[in-house]
């Protein structure tokens, strides 16, 4: 399988007038196409910062990052926006649906920024994505009219609508009850099974177990990187 993401010696430093905070140090990471990666670690360890860098929502202080073989460190904001739009799908903990838009409009949002799709194609992609998450019957509802689980399913539909190369999920079940969390995780399993590459930040071991591989971060460094089976067997033994 080809390497989709390659991070080499990535550092992220947040500076204020007086303090320098090293959020990430010497991050080296490769993610293969079709892989399901879970990023774990305690609060404030740098998980979300890493996900932001992976999703081109932020820039690293040093190091290199290639996405699908292309260097994405020195590209401009417009090019980054194009890559986010076409190659990356985001799922957030707090769903981040836009309250003024309907379910269908929310899912269509990333597609409206693409110049290569006409309205019919957009509608087809939205319908397909919503069917995939079993929300096709709620297209005209507003987010406030949906439960948390339903909102996150819509967010998943939005993330996959444009057929991105990779899905980045930041605590996708963090705001959900166990039943809805299970539904969303099952949805991610299904997407993975269909070939999607997924990078997921999670606190929830039940969620993390579903990934192929788990990396653990502590104080901004990757302290372990192993297949899920090994990680959770060790934990079980311990």
């Amino acid at each position: 399988m080809k390497t989709l993401i390659k991070l080499t010696n990535i550092k992220k430093v947040f500076s204020t007038d007086e303090v320098e905070t090293h959020a990430l140090s010497d991050i080296n990471l490769e993610v293969k196409q079709g892989e399901y990666l879970s990023i774990a670690g305690p609060s404030g360890c740098g998980k979300s910062t890493l996900l932001s860098l992976l999703g081109l929502l932020d820039t690293s202080s040093s190091g290199s990052y290639t996405l699908d073989g292309h260097d994405v460190v020195d590209i401009n904001a417009k090019q980054r926006a194009v890559i986010r739009n076409k190659e990356i799908g985001f799922i957030f903990q707090s769903f981040n649906l836009i309250s003024e838009l309907t379910v269908a409009e929310n899912v269509a949002l990333p597609l409206t920024y693409r110049k290569d799709l006409n309205k019919t194609e957009r509608t087809d992609l939205v319908t397909a994505a919503l069917e995939k998450v079993d929300m096709g019957h709620r297209t005209k509802h507003y987010p406030s009219q949906l439960s948390g689980g339903q909102q996150q399913r819509v967010a998943v539909a939005r993330a996959i609508a444009g057929n991105p190369s990779i899905i980045l999920a930041d605590e996708p079940t963090g705001n959900l009850d166990s039943k809805n969390a299970e539904l969303v995780m099952a949805l991610l399993d299904k997407l993975h099974a269909e070939g999607a590459t997924i990078c997921m930040v999670t606190h929830d071991p039940r969620g993390a177990k579903r990934a192929d591989r788990v990396i653990e971060i502590f104080d901004g460094r990757i302290v372990s990187d192993s297949p899920t089976s090994e990680t959770y067997i060790e934990e079980a033994v311990a």
Binding site: K78, V82, S94, S99
Partner: protein
């Protein structure tokens, strides 16, 4: 105690947020200053009450000829006496006349406006002399000793406040006159009186056509309305028109307050425009401050939720928030009173002195007790309006949700609607106000730069009034003109001298005329024309264009047939075939002498350059054929700009006094300054409206920027989401500009018609002028402002990395 701690808390909050406090105080002070200034100005001048016991019932009675309202001495004495015998609506109905009087002593001569009055004049104005007595009706009887009552100013200036002034003689219009009274400094009725003499004008023994015009006034009986009085007046004037169809053609009368008469019929519309403008500005200020307070209330949502959870009643929370707006408004109110007071002081010093007339004595342009009361009321009302809505809105949300922090970063639908509504309201108000202001400024600018039809820049003017006793004959008057002209022309700075009865830009008489060969029927509706007596060389000195025929020359003598030179407007209005030369007309209300048109010249604007005056026909008559005692001397200087000639006023004053000691020149000034003084009122209003326009733009821009900025801050997370989903900067700009444009279009769709309606309303009173440039330029400017107000906060939000925007709270 609770209230005190609430005030203390509000004060602490304001001190802790100096930028917020400064901004809100600035916005509110701007609105309140304009409001208090305007209130004080209008109530201290334009609508100030007459300070007499019966002041609210005193009316001036003036004529309306061919639809034009006249003021001052406008009623023929025969008509006045007819009215006096019949009116039922008045407890006092009387008249006075006004004349320029020459007062000369052994070493100097002075000009004043003299009022020739009856006893009732002083009675209705609660007059009490400082020394001596007032004028009585007996003083006006034939054979009575000539007496006068002088003003405090004359007493001080000419007699150094001599307490033994009573009984002394003053040479008034060459006649020795005994001083019988001195008025206190405060007394200047009817407007800027300086000297009072007995009223002697009568219709007895005078042919109706030669009857003088008098200024009529009355005191309405209690309970009689203006409408009732006017119905009666119109009825009586209609009877006169019926009886004297030639002399009273198209002539009616109406009663109006002295205040309205002093300012003219357009005053009410000007007041309305001013009040509307400051109202709009105050509303803009309230919206802005209200919005700022609301934003603050949202920021403090968590604090409010905690207080609610701890059991604070809503009324208490609302009151606590209200104190903040109350303190802001009180601070602003105090500052506004100070600023408005200073501004009024400057107005008094600078502006009122530039008026061509002395302001009426009842004007007190200053902060008064009424202004303070009004300021307090306005401040409290604005404090309530700006405070109550944000407080109610901020305390009406789901405090539990706020505490759970489940709705981070999102702008609720209702506050989104409110923001949009505020932007629309700001666009509507600023658009209407800017259109109104620019319409007025444009109109005044057009008036200031208009071509009056004559030379203006190199002309000096002076007025002289020859004493009646000495200059009864036409020959003596003509001799005086010749002497004065010969003496002046010998001065090296002067290249030409002429005479006229009326100067361009100044009012001239407007009378009904009848054209030869036109049958006006038994109930004639005669047309009207301005007329001006001029010397033979007037047209060449004033560089006017002769269209056809000739101007006056030596052929136009006292004993030769009367001739006239008319303007283009005259020809276009009265001679449809365009042939004017040789045609004849006469003034229908006085004599039967026919004037033959001998030439046609370009139009000249007399009075303010408003459409009505620009379109007026004018007939120039020969001063050679009818020399008058009162004339304006036109002095053409060798310099291109008369202002560059120094010492000319003194020189003209000396020369005129040498030639005739009882006829000193007065109003010696350049023609340009005479015109500018005539337009001083409009210029003042125009300057005020420039201030309104600037204030409205500052408030609207800051308000719209504030709202957009606030909206965008609240939508920072949404911007982050969109960028995470692939939106680039241009997508984000497009989105917000599109939203701003929606509000802009709605605002303009409402604001432009309101603005055009206001301009049209003022256009009718010749106070504003609309143009395509304004109607396109103002909306374009507002659109530009809106784009800026959207662009800057969005660009600021876009400087954030998307991940920071996503985390933004």
């Amino acid at each position: 105690m609770n209230t005190l701690s609430d005030i203390n808390f509000a004060l602490r909050t304001l001190i802790k947020n100096p930028k917020f406090t400064a901004l809100t105080v600035f916005v509110m002070t701007t609105g309140l200053t304009l409001c208090i200034y305007m209130f004080s100005f209008i109530h201290g001048s334009l609508v100030a009450p007459l300070p007499f016991e019966k002041g609210d019932r005193i009316r001036a009675v003036d004529t309306i000829k061919s639809g034009m309202e006249y003021q001052g001495a406008s009623v023929r004495v025969h008509d006045f006496e007819y009215l006096k015998e019949r009116v039922q609506s008045y407890e006092v109905f009387s008249a006075y006349t006004v004349n320029t009087v020459n007062i000369s002593t052994s070493d100097r001569a002075l000009k004043f406006r003299g009022h020739y009055v009856q006893e009732s004049f002083f009675e209705i104005s609660d007059a009490k002399p400082l020394l001596g007595r007032l004028i009585t009706n007996d003083d006006g009887l034939s054979g009575a000793e000539p007496v006068t009552v002088i003003s405090h100013t004359i007493w001080q200036n000419m007699f150094a406040g001599d307490k033994n002034v009573l009984g002394k003689k003053l040479r008034i219009n060459t006649e020795p006159t005994t001083i019988v009274g001195v008025m206190p400094d405060s007394y200047q009725f009817p407007s800027a009186g300086r000297i009072w003499l007995p009223y002697t004008t009568t219709a007895k023994g005078i042919a109706r056509k030669n009857g003088r015009s008098v200024a009529v006034y009355g005191v309405l009986k209690p309970g009689i309305s203006d409408e009732q009085a006017n119905i009666e007046l119109r009825g009586l004037m209609a009877e006169l028109e019926e009886t004297y169809p030639k002399l009273n053609s198209n002539t009616s009368a109406h009663a109006w307050t002295f205040q309205a008469a002093a300012m003219g019929s357009g005053t009410q519309i000007v007041i309305l425009a001013m009040e509307l403008s400051v109202g709009f500005i105050l509303l803009l200020a309230c919206i802005n401050v209200g919005n700022l307070l609301f934003s603050r209330a949202i920021e403090k949502g968590k604090e409010t939720a905690i207080r609610t959870a701890l059991g604070a009643p809503r009324a208490k929370l609302v009151m606590q928030m209200m104190w903040e707006s109350t303190l802001i408004c009180i601070i602003s109110g105090v500052l506004a009173v100070l600023f408005a007071g200073l501004w009024l002081e400057l107005t008094n010093k600078g502006l009122l002195s530039s008026f061509p007339f002395e302001p009426p004595f009842w004007w007190h342009v200053q902060i008064t007790q009424t202004s303070i009361i009004a300021a307090i009321v306005i401040t409290l009302v604005t404090a309530f309006i700006t405070g109550i809505l944000p407080a109610l809105k901020a305390t009406s949300g789901d405090f539990n949700a706020t505490l759970r922090d489940g709705t981070r970063g999102a702008q609720s639908k209702s506050s989104g609607r409110l923001s949009k509504g505020i932007v629309i309201a700001e666009v509507v108000l600023s658009c209407a106000l800017l259109l109104l202001s620019t319409g007025m400024v444009y109109s005044v600018n057009q008036q200031n730069n208009i071509d009056y039809g004559t030379s203006v820049e190199n002309i000096f003017t002076a007025r002289v009034g020859l004493p009646e006793a000495e200059y009864k004959s036409d020959e003596k008057r003509l001799q005086y003109y010749q002497n004065l002209k010969a003496t002046l022309i010998s001065e090296p700075e002067i290249s030409a001298v002429s005479f006229t009865q009326g100067l361009p830009g100044n009012d001239v008489p407007y009378r009904t005329i009848s054209l030869e060969g036109v049958d006006y029927g038994s109930k004639p509706q005669y047309p009207s024309s301005s007329y001006v007596g001029v010397a033979n060389n007037y047209f060449s000195v004033m560089a006017m264009n002769l269209r056809e025929g000739r101007t006056f020359d030596s052929r136009d003598k006292i004993d030769s047939p009367l001739t006239a030179v008319v303007t283009d407007n005259f020809v276009n209005k009265f001679f449809k075939d365009g042939v004017a030369l040789g045609k004849r007309f006469k003034f229908s209300d006085s004599d039967n002498a026919w004037y033959t048109v001998i030439g046609v010249v370009n139009d000249v604007i007399y009075g303010q350059p408003i459409p009505l005056n620009i379109e007026k026909p004018t007939a120039f008559l020969s001063l050679q054929q009818a020399p008058t005692r009162f004339v304006a001397v036109v002095i053409k200087t060798t310099a291109n700009d008369a202002q560059d000639v120094t010492g000319l006023p003194e020189m003209v004053a000396n020369i005129t006094q040498k030639i005739e000691r009882d006829a000193p020149a007065y109003d010696v000034k350049t023609l340009r300054s005479s015109i500018m003084a005539r337009n001083a009122g409009m210029n003042f209003i125009s300057e005020l409206f420039i201030v309104f326009a600037a204030a409205s733009m500052v408030l609207a821009f800051s308000g719209i920027y504030g709202v957009m900025s606030n909206t965008i801050i609240q939508k920072t997370q949404e911007i982050g989401i969109k960028r995470a989903l692939g939106a680039d900067n241009s997508d984000i700009y497009k989105h917000f500009i599109k939203q701003g444009l929606k509000q802009l279009v709605i605002g303009l769709c409402i604001g432009v018609p309101i603005g055009i309606m206001l301009v049209t309303m003022l256009e009718k009173a010749s106070l504003a002028q609309g143009s395509l440039m304004i109607y396109v330029g103002v909306p374009a400017f507002i659109s530009f402002v809106i784009l800026l107000a959207v662009y800057y906060p969005v660009s600021r939000a876009l400087k954030m990395e998307p991940c920071a925007a996503l985390r933004h709270e």
